[in-house]
Symmetry: C2
Subunit: 274 residues, 2 copies
């Protein structure tokens, strides 16, 4: 099987940075998974003694705690400070931005609209920075039933798709006197998405490598599926099913922003054997 | 010929207000036409001695000067003040808004984008309130070749169509870190447009009554034409051509925001005789 890699794929700047931070801080905890990739989390625990703790109240005083790429809610940060934790901030700078915007705009009296998945850790963190109850919506349909103020500020989860953000912005502009739109979608996400769009149109089968809970990985898969019916999402080489490649000539490969190169490489190698 | 009036048409709040102001201020000048309707301007001159002066430098000291609905450039206002003119402000409050926004946003360092016709008096006025050179664009195509800043504030000429504003906003949001969008399109315009859209789909022939230099009248005509090929723009009953109504059953009528009721009524009456 012949393979072709997407023009852009895999680790983004924020993830690379967080992993380097974790590797420099052996024997520390991360509050929640550092990144959304179980295999890489296993490697960090095995090789660097960096363990995941999901529950902030269970963290012992004065521990070294790494803040994950997605950030954490303001309240959790306060608890860590109370516990005298040594806080190592690996929050992606692109995630800190919407947190700061929401804090500032809510203080200025703007109604906050957050386009994102309210259950995603990044969005939970961003929501916590609003001093007034924000509207957190994951689709235009969800927004359509909400009561809007005259002055609205809109931010987006960093991994959302730009066309969807534009749809939401458009809805608001037609209804509000002032809409302040902060395009907080990350370029790395956009570049990976554009590359998948391109590649999935020229291949017979498309493989997206990444964590099944990773928002940006799921989106890459969704985009690929739109252009190439035979698209599959795998976490590693073991998930590959030889049946997928029967009678196919060219396989495209891309990977989510939290997928390490060593996993992508093993998937690529395995596919070439089919 | 049977006629049907649009649900909303004719004089808007700002125009009604300006005419009342003019009628209360006999023997005054307006700097440029008070509203974009030559017949009504004639009536004000004939019945109330309100004359039009196009050239600010030609105005004698200490005259009573009415500021037109569209507003005037900041520089012209300064000249009037120097001349000791008694200034009577009939600028539409919906036009004052984009002037104020542009003044404030340019002072705060936002690049100003004005969606409007740079030759229209309203837009000339709004442009003059920017402390930095604004981008004044009349279409998305014009914007596409401009250099954009990271932080942009967008306002619109009050008589523009919302879908076009949304197109321009969408373009900016995808390219700028922050876009502050002020929907300064006037509801009256929108309501008249929606009513024309509806009515022009159910009639055989559509008549739009208004000044041929009136931006909002021209837009009503443009919308009507999109749904009803036999649409015509007339300034008064004399412009009506009986040929237009041959073999037609139902004629729709609408009128621009600066068209007085007495003109609309005479057009309606005439059409019923065909």
């Amino acid at each position: 099987m012949q393979v072709k890699m997407a023009k852009n794929y895999g680790f983004c700047f924020g993830v690379k940075r967080a992993i380097e931070i974790a590797q420099r801080n052996r024997d520390s905890l991360t509050l929640g998974s550092l990144i959304h990739n179980p295999k890489e989390i296993e490697r960090l625990e095995r090789d660097f003694d960096v363990k995941v703790q999901e529950d902030v109240s269970a963290i012992e005083p004065h521990k070294s705690v790494i803040i994950r790429t997605h950030g954490i809610p303001k309240g959790d940060l306060a608890i860590l400070k109370e516990k005298g934790a040594r806080i190592i901030d690996a929050t992606c700078p692109y995630v800190i931005k919407p947190q700061q915007i929401v804090e500032k705009m809510s203080a200025k009296g703007y109604q906050i609209v957050i386009f994102g998945d309210a259950n995603h850790p990044e969005v939970k963190g961003v929501i916590s920075y609003s001093s007034t109850p924000p509207l957190s919506i994951n689709s235009l349909e969800e927004l359509q039933v909400k009561k809007l103020s005259k002055k609205v500020a809109l931010v987006s989860q960093t991994t959302k798709q730009t066309p969807k953000l534009l749809e939401i912005a458009t809805f608001l502009i037609a209804r509000c006197a002032e809409v302040r739109i902060f395009n907080t979608i990350c370029n790395a996400t956009f570049d990976n998405q554009e590359a998948v769009k391109e590649l999935s149109q020229e291949v017979d089968v498309m493989i997206i490598v990444g964590g099944k809970t990773s928002s940006n990985t799921k989106q890459l898969f969704h985009i690929a599926k739109g252009f190439c019916a035979d698209s599959y999402l795998v976490e590693d080489a073991q998930d590959l099913d030889p049946q997928w490649f029967k009678n196919k000539k060219l396989c495209g490969i891309s990977a989510g922003a939290s997928t390490p190169d060593w996993i992508i490489e093993s998937v690529r190698e395995r596919i070439t054997t089919f």
